[in-house]
């Protein structure tokens, strides 16, 4: 297996220093020297503008594309005029004499004001904010309930959460990840409800990420999750502030990302992926019914095709008498064995889905009709796939789309394949083997130290498999180890314990 090993004598790569850890570089009294240093550090980028003020004794340096000219006018030039050109009298400013600090401030969208003969320079925050309007997330629509969603601006996202939890114990810890990108992430939790051990663990894991760039929430979760090779997602991702807040109040931690509307929530159990904010807005009986359907769809999504293949390939004795003629009629003239049929049909559905996602919505729906109706009908008439298999695979993919979480739905569709193969070579025994493996794996996966398939006690059933009315849900989920196990003051004594 030597080709898997890395080459040993690779040339050592130069270490990059993060902007906030740059050693200080003292500025000089010479304006020209200072400007030259900054220009060199920024590799003479063309968007670096140096604006010399009349008399060439003072200069304003900034990065053209990320600063707002309006703000510059308002915060620098107007006050400067009022103070008769004396920069030191403007109140809203920062002072510094470290040129490396000046460079990193420039990158953050600040403007640097320098004066000839003075080693101190002044920083003004004139960053241009580019944000998208708050919209309902496309992939997590609800019928009732709030319709706002996170967007790419982390400040706005925190704003949405803070507005929902107006309490001093809502804690926000910002960190940056990525030596080049310096992406900002924020850990959000409610002190006093969250298990402090879990917060500590998450902070250590985040600190240990070593990478040039942090590009997405998905990549981030791969750095810190417990089992990267698992097929199941270990972080619940959402773009909905209401969902985030309800998870925060249960004692979980939310991770927000700059320039990314996705919010990751941990630690979660398997059942969290089957809860939707809709559940808490409808009558509890309706919500329970829908939850049960979702959980049933989990079983359906992974076992239905394999069950069908096992029945027609191995155990036709179990077909009920009344179904013999319909089944026989449907599969008699099909050219291929059931496994080929199944894989063909699964691939067709995946193709339709994948092509539908990328295309603009008017064409996307056309693809759905062409794919679903025309191919579905023609493939049966042509005798490539039996109409029963079309029903089975269509039901399976419908069942996988029922899951409120997108990642879980993808995992389920992948999971169908090994079971199809096992059932086509070993029949029901193969399905039993496969499901056993899945179950063993689910029991071993952990999400931030919390066992993924934490056995549900009778008490926890209230908000997992079913949903009971709010007044019956007095406790937070016990497996989270929250220091405040009850959801209301009336139930606990002063220490929050009973």
């Amino acid at each position: 297996m030597s080709f898997f090993k890395q080459k040993k004598n690779q040339s050592a790569q130069e270490k990059v220093i993060r902007e906030d850890k740059m050693p200080p570089h003292q500025s000089t009294a010479s304006l020209e020297k200072n400007i030259r240093y900054i220009q060199e550090e920024l590799s003479n980028s063309t968007d670096l503008k140096v604006r010399l003020l009349p008399g060439n004794k003072q200069a304003l340096v900034y990065l053209d594309d990320i600063t707002d000219p309006d703000k510059m006018q308002r915060y620098i030039f107007v006050p400067l005029m009022e103070m008769n050109g004396d920069i030191q009298r403007i109140k809203d400013r920062e002072e510094n004499d470290d040129l490396n600090k000046a460079v990193s401030s420039l990158l953050a969208g600040k403007a640097v004001y320098m004066v000839e003969g003075n080693a101190t320079f002044y920083l003004f925050d004139v960053q241009q904010n580019v944000t998208r309007a708050i919209m309902e997330p496309m992939n997590e629509k609800v019928i009732k309930g709030s319709h706002d969603g996170f967007n790419e601006d982390i400040k706005q996202n925190i704003n949405l959460i803070r507005r929902r939890i107006q309490h001093r114990s809502l804690t926000i810890k910002k960190q940056t990840v990525g030596d080049y990108t310096e992406s900002e992430i924020a850990l959000v939790y409610v002190e006093g409800i969250v298990n402090p051990g879990v917060v500590k663990e998450l902070e250590t894991r985040v600190k240990n990420i070593s990478s040039d760039a942090l590009l997405s929430a998905g990549a981030f979760s791969e750095y810190i999750e417990d089992r990267t090779y698992s097929i199941f997602p270990q972080f619940l991702s959402t773009e909905r502030p209401d969902k985030t807040v309800s998870q925060l109040m249960e004692g979980r931690i939310a991770i927000l990302f700059a320039n990314n509307p996705t919010c990751l929530i941990a630690p979660v159990t398997f059942y969290a992926f089957y809860q939707s904010p809709d559940d808490y807005n409808t009558r509890w009986l309706v919500a329970t019914y829908i939850r049960l359907i979702r959980l049933f769809s989990f079983i359906l999504a992974i076992t239905l095709p394999s069950f069908y293949i096992a029945v027609v390939g191995f155990h036709f004795e179990v077909i009920p008498e009344a179904l013999i003629s319909p089944v026989l009629g449907a599969i008699r003239d099909i050219a291929y064995p059931p496994i080929v049929e199944a894989i063909l049909m699964v691939i067709v559905i995946e193709l339709i889905r994948e092509s539908g996602i990328r295309l603009p919505s008017p064409i996307g729906s056309t693809i759905g009709i062409v794919g679903g109706l025309v191919i579905g009908d023609a493939i049966v008439t042509a005798g490539l796939v039996s109409n029963l298999m079309v029903i089975v695979i269509a039901l399976t993919s419908l069942a996988s789309f029922v899951v409120p979480s997108n990642e879980m739905s993808d995992s389920l569709r992948i999971l169908t394949f090994p079971l199809i193969i096992l059932s086509s070579v070993l029949g029901f025994i193969g399905i039993a083997f496969g499901l056993l493996m899945v179950l063993i794996h689910l029991c071993r996966v952990e999400s931030l130290g919390l066992s993924y398939f934490t056995p549900i006690q009778f008490r926890d059933l209230k908000d997992t498999v079913i949903r009971v009315p709010q007044f019956l849900m007095k406790r937070r989920p016990e497996q989270l180890g929250s220091p405040r196990p009850y959801k209301s003051n009336e139930l606990s004594d002063e220490n929050g314990k009973k």
Partner: protein, 372 residues
Amino acid sequence: MKKLSIILLSCTLILSGCWDTREFKEVKLGITAAYDMTEDGVYTNTILIPNVQNSAQGPGQESTQFLTAIGNTPTEARTNIDRRLSSTYSPAQLDVLLFGSNLAKQDIYPYVDAYYRDPRMHLDVVPAVVKGSAEQALKVVPKSEMRPSEYIEGIVDSEVETTNSLETSLQAIGSELYEEGEDFVLPLLQVGDSGKTVSFEGLALFHDSSYTGKDISFDHTTLFVLMKKQKGKVARITAKIFDGKKPEPDNYTTINIEDFSSKIKSKPDKQNKVRTDITLDLTVMIQEYPQDHLALADLPEVKKKLEQALTDQANETLRTIQDANSDVFGIGRNINGHYPSYWKKLDWEKDFKEIKIVPHITVNIRSRGIFR
């Protein structure tokens, strides 16, 4: 090395699995099978195989295929059938097993033995006896039926629903085939209308594993089934309760049994060796009373006459059973269980004919119908 062995192990597991595939579409399923005995003492096996043509609007018209083969054992006959089929023959979905009366009179066990041994066989196959040739009954395919393969099964099932036949299957008669002290009945069919239909003729009485040649006739079956503590969805009995009235239908009434309870008690008896009391309480509704008016005051008389008529009918049935030496009520088994030492002294083969079985039938008329 470790990885290689894991790959090899999983390959052996998966690839050996492929070998066991039995694809549904490559199998011909027999729905009904018939066993007959020829004059030379060789038996023939006839099966009915449905073939469905697929059409755009779901499964289309069913066509049927009959195959007959001769063999020394049932499995040999099956192998001979297989030789003439394009794909493998499987009896796993068999619904009905028909025995010609000649064959049934000898012994049916050799023909059902294979069904008990193979785990892939359905044990809810309904065995039935055909007066005359079973093959002939199997080949009756009425044109009006949507699924000709289900014709005979439908006949037997519907008789169970109207309390004319006991619910039976290979599973149900399994222990009674050989055990002493309990026998069984099977539905009796006959080809009628010069070969166009098959009709239910009553219940064939068995002793051990062979047909006794005696039957419970169709008009006595409902009462018999009720005494056996079974009731389908509907149970109707027509009884003659008057004599000499004109027109003729006025002599009869039809009752609909709404509720019933049945008890069978057996105990040793000095005079008759064993005495069995069958208590049957019926709660009925008068379904048909052609004399027109049924006054409340007439009810006690009707009740008395009904009880008399039903008791006569029961006595007749019991006499047939004892003549046939077919202990369908399991009286022997009951005595064996409760009085084991006494049972050892009995010779049930002979004594069953001698024992006394007394029916006690009471009728409670709950309703006279909405029209009086």
